[in-house]
């Protein structure tokens, strides 16, 4: 049985992380409508599995589920939206965000994926190293080392570009 206390806490975790989750999904799917659908699905799946997620890990589980949903959506290649699904976010409001997502991806594209993903989760998504470790099934020490190597590499690349 799930205690009322625990339910209340998970609700709070969802509320508090809504913006972060939406940002996480948008910066991967590049569509606000799809990002909202992905976050909603992640909430559904996480609540369905609440019996075997410790409260301490609930936030990481939410992000992990959302990460999988984003990967599945990208793999399916089904990123085209029907016209009637255009929601509150019009194209004009989405455009600057898309430009931001593209700008950041252009910077990170030069790194191996395992490094860029850690950096993105840390800097763009604001996750802690422990949360990234739980989310990616990778030891914390590896996550930290990928972050450091990636940042050093990125610094070098930026320096080379600005020198050149």
């Amino acid at each position: 049985m799930i205690s009322r206390f625990r339910r209340k806490n998970t609700d709070k975790i969802i509320e508090e992380n809504l913006q972060g989750l939406l940002r996480f999904a948008f910066f991967r799917l590049r569509s606000m409508q799809m990002a909202e659908d992905a976050v909603n699905e992640a909430v559904v799946r996480s609540l369905d599995n609440i019996n075997h997620i410790s409260e301490r890990n609930f936030k990481a589980y939410l992000y992990k589920t959302l990460h999988h949903i984003c990967i599945d959506t990208l793999r399916s290649g089904n990123l085209t939206l029907p016209l009637e699904s255009v929601g509150e976010y019009g194209c004009q409001e989405e455009e600057p965000l898309l430009e931001e997502a593209e700008r950041i991806d252009n910077l990170l594209d030069k790194l191996p994926q395992r490094m860029s993903e850690v950096i993105k989760m840390k800097v763009v998504d604001g996750l802690s190293f422990v949360e990234i470790s739980l989310l990616s099934d990778t030891p914390v020490s590896t996550v930290k080392s990928r972050f450091k190597s990636g940042m050093d590499k990125l610094r070098e690349l930026i320096k080379t570009l600005s020198d050149g």
Partner: protein
Amino acid sequence: MDDYKDIIDLLTPRREVKVSSSFRERIRETVRKRKRSKILKKYILTGVALSAAALFMVILLIPDGLSAAQLLSKTIDSFLGTPNVELQVDIRTLPRDNFILVDPEEEFVTHHIKTRRTDSTTYWSIDKGGRTAVKNSEGVFVWIKEYNIGWYSSNRNTDVLDYLSVFVNPEKTLERELELTSGKYGAKYELKKEKGRYFLTVRSQKEGDFSNPYMLNKSIVEAQTVRRYVINADNNHLESASVAMLVNGEEREVIRITDVKYLHGDIELASIPSGIRFQEMDQLYDNLSGFTGMDEKETASVLFNAFKDWDTSVIYRLVSPDMAEILRKDYEGATLLSMGTPFRSGNQKDLTFVPYSLKLKNNYIKNFNLAITKNSKGVWIVTGGL
């Protein structure tokens, strides 16, 4: 972190995503609904089973009052407390084919599955004789030893096993069933306790569009199935499991776990043999340039016509070169006799099949369906059906 302040500033989004009020309300409503359904779900499902057969009245009111979801959850806990698991699973499939293929028309092939746990992650290997896959600290590797060909991905979450992933993570077998208790896929559950064991039976519907039935019963999700689990009531260990497909109204067993071992000592996963030419999975199809402006039928036609003189300037644009060279001994010199109308089938949303009739150089007439899909460049390329 301070050391990287300049780079962090560069990477920090300059615009923030806004959570609209309608979206916030949508999520609140989702949370409310899930809470309600958590309570109602098992009774609704129980009701369905009871109305289906009075026999299950006893079954569903088992003495200690566990619901199917609670039982599954307990079994998951038992796996989580177990370091390593070794399974032997018999599956009707072809030894070299993809792990997704489960076909009631094929013979049983024994799969050796090993799961090794560390503090932070789970590694596994699965060997079906002709094809082997392993997840280790480097990523996910799949290979066919006979052809010395393999594929790898450094992303350890890459899914190469489809439904079989439930067996490489044994706790996922039941976790997946737990997910299904939402009734999302129309599954029905029956649970009974007898002589110290729980017997759980799950009946699920096929998923996909079968207006063309070509893909019907070619994978677990594309078939109507009955899945049975036997769980020790004392320690909640999974003792055996089986999956049957309903073919012409009759059950045909397609998967059966014949042995489950819970091990507390170390375990050796399948090792990657030397000499395998590995290709990056993610780039496998994206590296193919295809032919811009051609539709699926034209693409298939161009490929088949290139077989006659084995024109690699065409073939390599549509089929990965390593795979093409494996196919060469059978298809070089083949001539195209006819082609049918492309169609889709089953749960493979992105896959199109093009029927063809090909005369091979040994005069054998091959009638089959070429599987093609669009890669990230938006051009048709070949993924199977040869």
